[in-house]
Symmetry: C2
Subunit: 219 residues, 2 copies
Amino acid sequence: MASNQEEIKLFGMLASPFVSRVEIALKLKGIEYKYEEEKWGNLSETLFKYNPVYKKVPVLVHNDKPISESLVILEYIDETWKQNPILPSDAHKRALARFWSNFIDDKYMNALRKVLYTVDEKECKIYIEESEVALEFLENELKDKFFGGEDIGLVDITAVFIAFWLPIIEEVMGLKLLNIGKFPKLYKWSQDFNNHPIVKEKLPPRESLLAFYKARFAS
Amino acid sequence: MASNQEEIKLFGMLASPFVSRVEIALKLKGIEYKYEEEKWGNLSETLFKYNPVYKKVPVLVHNDKPISESLVILEYIDETWKQNPILPSDAHKRALARFWSNFIDDKYMNALRKVLYTVDEKECKIYIEESEVALEFLENELKDKFFGGEDIGLVDITAVFIAFWLPIIEEVMGLKLLNIGKFPKLYKWSQDFNNHPIVKEKLPPRESLLAFYKARFAS
């Protein structure tokens, strides 16, 4: 638990899966924090001050010291509060967890971003295939209930987008992206992850996200 | 020091700054390893087996367990062999070191890759400006002799490309990329880094790199 003298603030945005990663990790550790909601397209001066490089959420501010970039924040949280570890203790397993969480950002999230921002149908199909190649790697990597074993860990938390955001994007865009036939293990994982008591409590309301993405894709 | 029973192998390529990162880190730790040179455009079956996801160097194999991605390997090395730490011990400083080393890959290396692969002069100029914005951030971040303080650390090692590769690329392309007038601290850092006894011993021969890049840009 954080001591009384500690001040922990999270600058976030309801619709951001990157912020959701940090919220799940803090909840897993049992850490209380103050949450500041930033406005899409109209970020606060405070956020610019804390994250002048990327100018985006999430930013975790611990006793006035800001930390940006969700994966960097997750490592910080795991090193600062030791209870309920997010990373394995074995060095090689830690390396694999870092490898796969980076993979999700570099390969999967990037491919999906292209799916979302491409108007041309043919091009979009190519990016969907690219994102499916990435999912295939994750499907093969999933050996237990969670990527972290019986408990959720770094890779599971990083993959929150796949579990919770993806079905919403599917609904908005009328696409099937996490196909249960193609990725049965990943599909089951997504159900188990979303129903995990800690995760469930921290996920944003589905209807709000749906409204947000509907508005965004319409414009 | 690695014990006698340990088997440490590095799959690399002379011209790769990502491999150089791993070589410098292993040398800093005083770890002996077997080096396997991979061929540009004709990678070995062993490398494909060890890094089926990205199919590229570097791959560190420690007692038959492979680890890919240079920044993941650096963290593994630092966790496995504790002498001469690469990362600071303080959690917030560790987060900053990770932030800036990711920044070098995400912002600087990506911008520079675009400089190198763009034929159009106008477009090239835009990417050079983008790379200079990234260097400006690094210039402002450099407060001591090295990013790691008086000793080299994660950010210095990650930035080996800027110190050693960049002047070679400048020569091959006839461009000025690390301008001493614009980036005086970074320029001095690059000299200190290249002359660091550990670094100096592990950098590839300048003439070989020059020949490699000349041939590559000619084709």
